[in-house]
């Protein structure tokens, strides 16, 4: 039988309610919206602990029907008092049932906690316990294991304004089912991203040290304010890199982790691990542009015709096209001019170039070997940033798609030559075959299932700009990834201030949402409507969220989890020593080149 004292301090008893929402009558304590309470029930000899989240608070005076009237009397009658009122002062809590944990026997005969959706109701007048930090943490960890377990740490289980020492994680296997991070300016998105990047690094560290059997996680992390590397406050991702010994750093990051459009503007200490972003025009295909800007059917037809005629040199061909040339179809002059105007940004771009050394193959190699890349886009235009993200996403997606649909390396190569710009494929061919070939790279070798490869997470910053319904109507690469990414172990990490303007396809495919403080009622409602678990009734709570507080919802979990995302500096300081030593590495599969 459960030792109820471990659940916390006795707070009250349940009153009216049903399996989804309940009223609790509790002692006159300093409670805040968002606190979690545990309700112990033993109905019909089934020992269960129900979890309850406070959404509303009422002051209640026992045996007083009209509290306002009493307050009015105290105001008007200056000599009025309240006799022996303290014991009658109670707090009435209104809130939602989040689910319950039940002690069951597993197949080995061990007693374990199993968490279930709120399909039942606690027994009449059941006792309610308020968790106590430092005392209740362990049992909450056990009871909520299925709801908070995983390799990717997000934050700590929040109870009101405080937290328990109960880490909340996401299982890495669910990352390819896409993650959304929603929050207004100042809600803590950048800090959350840094914590997530650190968690992915920690996951990879455990994998290479043989402490975990989960997949490596690669991430292409857009950093629009150039703050991930050096940090928002004192520490940043670069401090993790610095803490590592040479071997660990090489295993985890390779030669670089920082990408920037202007290497010369990079601080010297980061420059050692930085590379300049250069993507060749040849590596861009029409679909990349369709994903980031809208084209009329006539314009698309013109682009397709030019792509067909000039292959990977299509952009150069369009840009150099002289409308006075006799070969130009003058009936389509309007579309041609419009397309040229749209491609103008490429001419002026410092990262999209017509010749030189491309970084795309190295990005691809990094993604296929479980590396984390921080991409400083602060000096890029929005359009450049979106095109870069699109090209990287489409390239990896096409390669993995080719691998997924191929039995042998021969088939894989054939598919790649159709899907990818040929000059790019030629550069990566050997390594690609090594990544995907099972036991060898000859044409007759089988191809590995992409689900055995590192999980690739692509962040989409300012998501509404490219994940809006207009662009998603066309041939957006993100539409494909959102629907099929999990098959290729590729997920999107969608970061947005708004939920309401995102396309429904993206929202419906998103299986994990980290909902931070939102800007207005419309966004709160959209967030609630699109959450993977039912969080209706949490409106008030969104309104009082502080910076760094979030509600984690996931389709593969029954319970919405309140999380406090710690400051990156704090988590870094807490376990910076982890990075110092290199434990004996597990022998990992080596790619045969």
């Amino acid at each position: 039988m459960l030792n109820k004292e471990k659940l916390g301090s006795l707070f009250g008893r349940i009153g009216m309610g049903d399996q989804s929402s309940l009223w609790i009558m509790g002692s006159n304590e300093d409670i805040c919206v968002g606190e979690i309470f545990a309700i112990y029930s033993k109905r019909d000899n089934h020992e269960r602990v129900f979890f309850y989240r406070v959404l509303k608070l009422h002051n209640y005076l026992r045996r007083v029907d009209d509290l306002s009237q009493v307050a009015g009397t105290l105001m008007v009658e200056g000599d009025a008092y309240l006799s022996g009122i303290d014991r009658n002062k109670l707090i009435e809590l209104g809130g939602k049932m989040l689910g319950y944990a039940e002690l069951v026997e597993n197949e080995k005969g061990e007693r374990i906690w199993r968490f279930k959706s709120p399909r039942r109701i606690p027994e009449h007048l059941a006792f309610v316990y308020r968790p106590v930090k430092g005392e209740s943490d362990v049992i909450y960890c056990d009871m909520l294991h299925s709801q908070i377990g995983g390799e990717i740490y997000i934050g700590d289980f929040q109870i009101g304004e405080d937290t328990l020492d109960v880490p909340v994680n996401i299982e890495s296997k669910f990352l390819p089912m896409h993650v959304g991070i929603f929050g207004s300016t100042g809600a803590g998105k950048s800090n959350l991203m840094m914590v997530l990047i650190k968690s992915m690094i920690d996951n990879n560290l455990k994998v290479i040290r043989g402490q975990s059997t989960s997949n490596l996680v690669s991430a292409f992390c857009i950093d629009p304010h150039d703050e991930f590397a050096t940090g928002v406050d004192t520490y940043g991702i670069h401090d993790i890199v610095k803490e590592m010994d040479e071997n660990t750093r090489k295993e985890l990051f390779g030669e670089f982790y920082y990408l920037t459009s202007h290497l010369s503007a990079t601080p010297r200490e980061i420059k050692r691990y930085a590379k300049e972003i250069r993507i060749l025009w040849k590596e861009i295909i029409p679909q990349d542009l369709y994903s980031i800007m809208s084209f009329t059917p006539q314009m698309s037809a013109f682009i397709e015709a030019m792509y067909h005629a000039h292959g990977e040199d299509w952009i150069e061909a369009i840009i150099q096209l002289d409308e006075n040339d006799d070969s130009v179809d003058r009936s389509n002059l309007g579309s041609m001019r419009a397309v040229k105007r749209r491609l103008k940004f490429l001419e002026n771009s410092s990262i999209f170039v017509d010749s030189g050394q491309s970084i795309l193959p190295e990005i691809y190699f990094a993604m296929e070997t479980g590396k984390i890349l921080v991409v400083n886009t602060s000096l890029m235009s929005d359009r450049e940033q979106f095109l870069l993200t699109t090209i990287v996403t489409r390239t990896i997606s096409d390669l993995r798609r080719a691998a997924k649909s191929s039995g042998l390396i021969r088939d894989f190569e054939a598919q790649c030559r159709v899907r990818l710009p040929i000059s790019f494929y030629n550069k990566i061919e050997r390594k690609a075959k090594a990544f995907y070939g099972k036991g060898g790279t000859t044409n007759e070798h089988e191809v590995r299932d992409p689900r055995d490869l590192p999980i690739v997470m692509i962040t989409v910053e300012e998501a509404p700009s490219i994940l809006n319904p207009t662009l998603m109507e066309g041939q957006s690469v993100f539409k494909d990834i959102s629907r099929q990414g999990r098959k290729f172990n590729m997920g999107l990490l969608v970061v947005s201030q708004q939920v309401s303007v995102l396309d429904n396809v993206i929202l419906s495919q998103m299986n994990t949402e980290i909902n931070l403080r939102l800007g207005n009622e419309r966004e709160i409602q959209a967030c609630i409507d699109n959450a993977s678990v039912n969080i209706s009734g949490f409106e008030d709570e969104f309104r009082v969220m502080n910076r760094g507080e979030a509600l984690l919802t996931a389709s593969y979990r029954d319970m919405p989890i309140p999380v406090r995302i710690p400051l990156f500096d704090d988590v870094f300081k807490r376990n910076r020593s982890n990075y110092k030593r290199m434990a004996s590495s597990r022998k990992r599969d080596k790619h045969i080149i």
């Binding site: 005076l61 009493v70 105290l74 200056g78 009025a80 008092y81 309240l82 006799s83 022996g84």
Partner: protein
């Protein structure tokens, strides 16, 4: 009936009844009131000199209150009626020294001192057959009320009425009550008007006895309250011919009055339902005299008091009650006036000063200052908080009664009795 109630005819009916009452007032009693107006205004209505909100009393004291509640229809087994009776005794400390006025003692502590659970719940039953009814009721009274013997219960009444030394029943031999001495040895013969015991009267008597029993227990306990407040008036049904209480509760009241006096406790009976004619007019006069929201009281003198009784109740023999001194009072301009009764013997000894109306008035003001101070709880402003708390403690709500009847139904079933006894007969016919 709603279709009838919502008609113009019903409105006319209500209007005609109101007019009828007004006519009666105008015809019969208005003239009487006119005779009393000046006296009420100049001699009887008095403004209370209230304590300031932050008063710290020289000596804090205890105040106790008792209230009861019940259901006369808990269940009916043929002609046996079972009553559910609850009582609550609360004790508060004025506690001004600690800035937390009228702090209640815990129920556990009161229970311990009184030797009876607080609040208390009892089931009592009686029969419909006339002689058996009295026998059974008497048995219940004896069960409830803590007495050594019946003569010691009846003597206080006669001692107070006759005002001579009466130590034993035999001392009544030469008085007007001498012929009834034999009736004063058994509880059942104290019920001299058994034919008036309707179900409702029996229930009231059981409830009153339960409350008086609680008062007696408190007064003989170690708790020494300065005030003991009862809910209701100090009215006693007096046998028209014999001139002594026709039911035992009348003797019990005098017994607790005597015990209270001996203990130095001021016994008061407070009733919201005062039955004082022209009370609303007296309240209006008070408002005109002292101003709105002023706190006041008004003595309702008896024929034995200087100046005699008031004309407005001259034909109401129950005002003032026998051996009681009633006052009309108001501690809040928002509420209708209430009534408070004191033991006349105590009043004569402690409030009234023969030939000195000013001293009497000072004593009254001092008394009401205390009563007003204990009536400032914001939940029941203007009503004594001890009584309000006692009421909330003893109240049997509809939901409570319903659950009690569910339990009764179970027990009836276990006892091979028809569980439908727990329900009203109407429910058999879906009425």
């Amino acid at each position: 009936m709603l279709e009838k109630i919502l008609t113009l005819e019903f409105r006319k009916l209500v209007t005609s009844v109101i007019d009828d009452i007004k006519n009666y007032h105008n015809r019969v009693t208005e003239k009487e009131f006119e005779k009393d107006k000046r006296r009420i205004l100049n001699e009887l209505l008095t403004e209370i000199d209230v304590y300031p909100p932050d008063i710290v009393l020289n000596e804090d004291y205890l105040v106790a209150a008792i209230d009861g509640s019940g259901s006369e229809n808990f269940f009916l087994l043929d002609d046996i009626r079972v009553h559910l009776i609850s009582t609550a005794t609360v004790v508060l400390n004025t506690n001004t020294k600690f800035g937390d006025p009228f702090r209640p003692m815990s129920n556990d502590e009161v229970s311990r001192v009184m030797g009876k659970d607080q609040p208390n719940l009892d089931l009592l039953w009686h029969l419909g057959v006339r002689e058996d009814a009295a026998e059974k009721l008497a048995e219940m009274f004896e069960l409830l009320y803590p007495i050594e013997d019946i003569p010691s219960l009846v003597l206080p009444f006669f001692q107070d009425v006759i005002q001579k030394t009466i130590d034993k029943l035999e001392d009544l031999r030469d008085t007007e009550f001498g012929q009834y001495i034999d009736e004063f040895h058994k509880m059942v013969t104290l019920i001299s008007r058994g034919n008036l015991l309707t179900t409702s009267a029996a229930h009231d008597e059981l409830r009153k006895t339960a409350e008086y029993a609680a008062a007696k227990r408190l007064l003989i306990s170690d708790i020494k309250p300065r005030f003991l407040l009862l809910d209701g008036a100090m009215s006693v049904f007096i046998h028209f011919a014999r001139q002594y209480p026709s039911l035992p509760s009348g003797f019990m009241l005098r017994d607790i009055c005597k015990t209270a006096r001996e203990k130095g406790t001021i016994l008061c009976a407070v009733s919201k339902n005062h039955t004082i004619p022209f009370a609303h007019r007296i309240a209006k006069m008070a408002e005109e005299k002292f101003g709105k929201n002023k706190k006041w009281f008004c003595l309702l003198p008896s024929n034995d008091d200087p100046g005699g009784g008031l004309h407005i109740y001259s034909n109401r023999t129950y005002i003032p009650p026998r051996l009681a001194v009633p006052y009309l009072f108001s501690f809040s301009g928002d509420n209708r006036p209430s009534r408070i009764d004191f033991d006349r013997i105590w009043w004569l000894e402690n409030i009234f000063v023969e030939g000195d109306p000013e001293s009497t008035r000072e004593n009254e003001i001092a008394l009401f200052r205390e009563l007003e101070f204990m009536s400032r709880d914001a939940r029941w402003y203007g009503y004594p908080v001890p009584l309000a708390l006692a009421h909330t403690e003893c109240k049997i709500s509809y939901e409570d009664l319903s659950i009690a009847k569910d339990i009764l139904s179970d027990v009836l079933h276990e006892s091979d009795l028809d569980p439908r006894f727990a329900k009203s007969l109407r429910s058999d016919f879906n009425m």
